[in-house]
């Protein structure tokens, strides 16, 4: 399944019309110990670049933005009990939410893994 990345350090993995969203390993490393994650409610309508979730480290709260437009189908309830999953497995078990895509063409504007790596290396 194709996986895309944003300049805001989110990843989105697409499976047909459904996608899973999380933050990248680079992002969790920058944030440090994560102690709380607020995921969007099921049914929430997200628009590309708008607020989608909040991730809180010991030090600070950070917004997570929607990489594309879509309707939330599920938040990762495992993060309620164990927010540190975002540190230990950010691009797997530490996913944030799933959504149905409203406009698949928005994916064209995102980076692939190689482009994202180059983006991070340049930071």
């Amino acid at each position: 399944m194709p996986r895309y990345y944003t300049e805001e350090h989110e990843w989105i993995e697409v499976d047909g019309d459904v996608a899973t969203v999380g933050i990248t390993d680079f992002a969790q490393g920058q944030l440090g110990d994560i102690v709380f994650v607020e995921v969007p409610d099921t049914g929430a309508e997200l628009s590309q670049g708008g607020d989608a979730a909040v991730v809180e480290s010991v030090k600070a709260a950070s917004d997570v933005y929607a990489p594309v437009d879509g309707t939330v189908t599920e938040g990762n309830s495992a993060l309620e009990e164990d927010p540190a999953l975002v540190n230990s497995d950010p691009e797997g078990e530490g996913w944030f939410f799933r959504l149905t895509l409203s406009d698949k063409s928005q994916l064209d504007g995102l980076m692939d893994a190689a482009a994202y790596k180059a983006f991070c290396d340049a930071l």
């Binding site: 440090g32 110990d33 102690v35 709380f36 607020e38 909040v54 809180e56 480290s57 010991v58 030090k59 600070a60 709260a61 309620e80 927010p83």
Partner: protein, 380 residues
């Protein structure tokens, strides 16, 4: 310390972020550097949570060289200081130190500071973020025959945690004989240093003032020991929050007096009787009749951190604001500090904080959140 100036976008002269003497040392240790109080400082090395817990169990080395180390000498320094702070400085014996507050004319807190009677002079350690303002205020308000030196040739390290005494005694054996809030001059590798049993984490520990050129070697000597790791600003903040200790510029400011700040202990008995400090009428009035508001601790329900700036509510009435807050690693839950009306300041009182439009239940709690481990008597 290097101080440089550069032109900002508006063409005005802006002070550039300064570099502390241990800058390269922090970077070599993996410190993630951030701007704080005008300096590049390490926010963390391996991670705030691990560093915080390490200090509670072992010993952590903090670079607090951004703080201002001031020396006051001359005739009747204690009496002169008492015109600006509410502590009984005249009763402070040589080798003893005291937490005090620099007060504005209206009794508002300009800074919190440590005052040490060093025998022939008084040492004062002030917060880095306001040290230049403090120096200006002291120069303006102290008599001309009192000399104020800002000792920029010395850095300041804090070694904090239950193993701090074991570690430091290997380098400075006499440190083990000190009790909390006691200070001595000492010598290490030919350098004149100052050691006090004090700190701002709630743990036993020491602050060591030493010449800039000796800092790297001293820090290396401590961090070569199994008990000691370098600790960043992030853990310093979570440790002091758990210890119930206010952070100037956040939990204390010029609009707040010592009674409101829950720092009435810093107003000595004799000073309560005699007054003679700035804002004495307001402060003594608040002591007698209660202040309209008070700094309190807050235990937060659930896991969502409540941070600085969150509004506090009693029902639908806005009653105050959170001034510090975050996840407390040793408590295992979010905690906060904030201001509420004195009538709602009793431990156990239920209030609510507003975070991103949602209400979070909080309970006023006695501080510290984690018991202090100060050493008030030595075994020897």
């Amino acid at each position: 310390m290097t101080e440089t100036e550069q032109l900002d976008d508006d063409g005005a002269i802006a002070a550039a972020t300064e570099v502390l003497p241990l800058d390269a040392w922090h970077r070599a240790k993996g410190g993630r550097m951030v701007e704080f109080a005008g300096y590049w400082m390490p926010i963390q090395y391996e991670g705030i949570m691990a560093e915080h817990l390490w200090v509670r169990e072992h010993a952590g080395l903090f670079d607090v060289s951004h703080m201002g180390q001031l020396l006051l000498s001359g005739d009747k320094v204690a009496e002169a200081l008492e015109t600006l702070v509410p502590g009984d400085i005249s009763a402070l014996k040589p080798g003893r130190m005291r937490y005090s507050l620099l007060l504005a004319e209206d009794g508002g807190i300009l800074d919190d500071l440590m005052i040490t009677n060093e025998g022939d002079q008084f040492g004062i350690v002030v917060n880095g973020a306001v040290k230049w303002e403090d120096i200006g205020y002291l120069r303006e308000n102290l008599p001309d025959d009192i000399t104020l030196n800002h000792n920029e040739d010395y850095g300041l390290l804090a070694l904090q945690g239950p193993k701090a005494v074991i570690a430091l005694a290997r380098l400075v054996p006499e440190a083990a004989g000190l009790v909390f809030m006691q200070a001595i001059p000492a010598t290490w590798n030919g350098h004149a240093i100052g050691v006090s049993r004090s700190g701002y984490t709630g743990e036993d520990g020491f602050e060591i003032s030493l010449p800039n050129e000796a800092l790297t070697e001293f820090a290396d000597a401590l961090c070569a020991m199994d008990e000691v790791k370098p600790i960043g600003l992030g853990a310093r903040d979570s440790l002091r929050l758990e210890a119930g200790l206010p952070l100037y510029g956040h939990d204390l400011d010029p609009a707040t007096d010592p009674v409101e700040g829950d720092l009435a202990f810093a107003i000595s008995k004799r000073r309560r009787e005699e007054g003679g400090f700035p804002g004495a009428a307001r402060i003594l009035g608040h002591l007698a009749d209660g202040a309209p508001r008070k700094r309190v601790g807050l235990l937060v329900d659930g896991k969502m951190p409540v941070r600085e700036g969150a509004k506090l509510f009693d029902g639908n009435t806005e009653i105050g604001v959170v001034t510090s807050g975050g996840f407390a690693p040793s408590v295992g839950a979010p905690i906060a500090m904030g201001y509420v009306p004195t009538g709602l300041s009793a431990p156990g009182t239920a209030v609510a904080a507003e975070v991103r439009g949602k209400r979070v239940a909080c309970t006023v709690a006695a501080m510290p959140f984690v018991p202090h481990n100060y050493v008030r008597k030595t075994g020897a």
